[in-house]
Amino acid sequence: MRPILPAILLLGAAAMGCAGPVVATSTEVPRALGSAARGGSLVIDPACLVAWIADTDNHVLHRVDLLSDRVVSSPVEGAPEQVVLAGDGRLAVTLRDRNQVALLQEDEDGGVEPVATVDVACDPFGLAVTPQGEILVTSGYCHTVTALDLGTLEARWSAPVAREPRGVVVTADGARAFVTHVVGDAITVLDLGDAPPTPRRVRALGGLYRNRVDAALGAGTLHPAAALAYTAVLSESGSRLFVPHLAEQNGESTTRTVPGAYGGVPVEEETSFASVAVIAVHGEHVVGDAAGLAPREGLQKGAFVAADPSADFALPPTPAPCRQARAAAIAGDRLLVASQGTGELFELDARALDPAMSVRRVHVVGEGPKGVDAAAGLAAVWSQLSHEIAVISLGSGAATRRVLAADPLPPDVAAGRRLFFTERDRRISRDGRACAACHPDGRDDGLVWKLGAGPRQTPTLVGRLGRGPFGWQAKHARLEDNMRETMSRLGGGGLTEVELTRLATFLREGLAAPSHPSSPTDALAARGRAIFTSEAVGCSGCHHVETEFSDRTLHDVGSRSATDASAAFRTPPLLFVGASAPYFHDGRYATLEKLLADNLDRMGQTSRLSGDDLAALAAFLRTL
């Protein structure tokens, strides 16, 4: 990699006193930073122009000196997901597979040595440091935010939040933290003055502004649902919060015939588009989404097509940029978004009401970018699938790329992973939607899709694909055949048999299942297990404990709805059922408690169970 920094930057960095890493002894308690810091798969230390990279595949932390190109790779005890600057030459990383946060100390050679580790709620992902000297950690599967003391890693508080939290950012004054979720249309706000804080949900996602513009332009498809909010970033002034996500149309057909436009030709519009919610930090509302907005019907009346049928005008959504927006950074008026599904870095106009509608420049960066940060007129991007860093001059647009590590995955798994994440492959779906766009991390987007035989909730894949038959109707003995049918239903042209095999291999061997306690850890869950396995109740008659909690056969349990083509459904595996709401094939139950309360002996004999018994049953299911 050839340095692309101008000499003035080198001088500037030297003037900042960045001759070498700052070293503290492991017994020294770091001082509070006094400012907030945001974690990521890649973060830049702006004082030294050093990029720190969490290489999940290789269990390595890379230190890349952006001035000298020197790279130091240090092994860590687990799969690092994010890294954050913790002050005094220290770094904190989430070790996702070990349910730990590790505190590391940079040594004189640029390597890192462990200082301490601490267990946290399962599936730790995002990191941020508060000015008060705390590390905030999001735990995806265990839907928790934990605050750790920056010096001792002692847990100060822990707060349960909504499903699948990922990114976390802290305001400069340390008063609030904003948490994103890959499921749902809201962010979580935590008031950090309270310990533990009471989470507040702010509904802010779902392309609110973009939908209004599309409706005004006569587009037939609106996209009111949301998913895949992996990350968030504050503007430099701290007044705006940017949350890239995917706005979805999951409940209606997206094939439209717009009267008065296209000569009545059916138009197939996209099932989703990329959007960036812009949230006013002060008021915690979407900028431009004041109270009393016109309802959708009103906007459609005002649409150009309706207002002036002779105009023959309709402008459906343009193909969506920045798919699977895995990471974001801010550089002045530029919002930088890493598009994991397309291998690109998008430069968006951060002043726009939806920056995803204002693309300024696109850079090709590598496969599967999932970390980005910016400093001193540079952007650095980490691409996990190709294990490379791209360094881009935000002035000239010049970029250099460098592979930092080999791919440790078996070739078939690596190839399958590429297929899983890649967007714009029309063989997989009509609109180029990737597998990972509905199955983030191999899990689910929490949505119910109207496809083919009736509404179907997106199933969690990870840990559930060990044996067939597959699909709600158990039609396919082989996973490959089930995927082929799914792609056909999505309008895709279809992958080759070899590619399907690779994809199936990745799904079975490459997805990392959340590591959570596999047996009841408290009395309530243990009581639930006893109920679940009792012959009198009979849950395990179909949900066989030894086979992923499913007998893999069809049963008519009276769950057919008016839109279902058949009455019998395959017993769904229950592994990870606690974090895969909504429930039933059509997602009719929002919680396990609602499902159990409405069971009416359709599945096992639960009508005679007491409220406490049902609570125990739900507690047990959440341990699976």
Partner: protein, 269 residues
């Protein structure tokens, strides 16, 4: 979108006044929601800080009419032939070709000075805007008005593309107004409000061989205003978005963004 909104009559409070602007008139519906009137002004209200009055008379062809409407209210009409005429205050805005109007409701028992409206006119063939105020006075039941001249609007961010030329200006009340003209090959389909309560508020189109669009993006503390102009050029559909943000902690900003997409055509012929 038609020019029938020339008859738009607004509903709103009127700053520091003894009058309120109420719905009424025909044939178009009011374009701004009703709000209660505010305190009586004991002296003639000063012009807003962003509006600098100048000596001299307004252009001779600017005409003012303040008259009872027969229903207990008054109509304030400003006319200027060959111009897009705008009339507004913080809460109510109307515009139209050649003339526009707001409906004013005097409050019983209140006397003395009343309030001030801002008028602006833009020639149908240009983008230069002339500004002034209407000083309204009440003798307790009847309104009278006087036209005054003000400095032209202060320019804000502008926009130029092969299809559209837009001039942004500070509206004198903390927000923005934008006036756009279009290339002859461009057909303007409409202009709409995508952040307001009603999609036809604050966006006016004067159709014709060389269309003129006026967009008002009034100050919205802590939030934003967005308008969209739809155009076609051949088989290309074009959307010009105009966005103003008023986020706490930031200077108000005005942004333009033009996007396009080829319009599908029917096969088989």
């Amino acid at each position: 979108m038609s020019t029938s909104r020339l008859f738009t009559l607004a509903v709103a409070a009127f700053f520091g006044s003894t009058v309120s602007i109420v719905p009424g008139g025909s044939p178009a519906p009011p374009s701004v929601a009703s709000r209660p009137t505010v305190a009586v002004a004991e002296v003639a209200p000063a012009a807003p800080p962003g509006i600098e009055l100048v000596g001299g008379s307004p252009p001779r062809d600017v005409e003012l009419e303040v008259a009872p409407d027969g229903h207990g209210d008054h109509r304030v009409v400003v006319r200027r032939r060959g111009f897009l005429v705008s009339l507004r205050n913080e809460d109510a805005r109307s515009a139209g070709q050649d003339w526009t109007a707001l409906r004013i409701s005097p409050r019983a028992g209140r006397g003395g000075p009343a309030g001030r409206l801002i008028w602006e006119t833009t020639p149908l063939e240009g983008l230069e805007t002339t500004r002034g105020t209407v000083l309204l006075r009440s003798d307790g039941g009847t309104l009278a008005g006087t036209l005054q001249r003000a400095m032209p609007p202060t320019p804000a961010r502008a926009w130029q593309s092969p299809r559209a030329t837009c001039r942004g200006q500070h509206d004198g009340l903390g927000g923005f107004s934008v006036l756009c003209r279009f290339a002859r090959a461009v057909r303007v389909s409409g202009a709409v409000n995508v952040t307001g309560a009603r999609s036809l508020d604050d966006a006016w189109l004067v159709p014709g061989p060389s269309p003129l669009v006026r967009l008002d993006l009034p100050r919205s503390p802590g939030s934003a205003a967005g308008r969209v102009i739809g155009m076609t050029q051949g088989l290309t559909g074009v959307a010009l978005r105009v966005e103003a943000t008023f986020v706490d902690g930031e200077e108000p900003a005005l942004l333009y963004e033009e996007s396009e997409r080829a319009q599908p055509v029917s096969r088989g012929f």
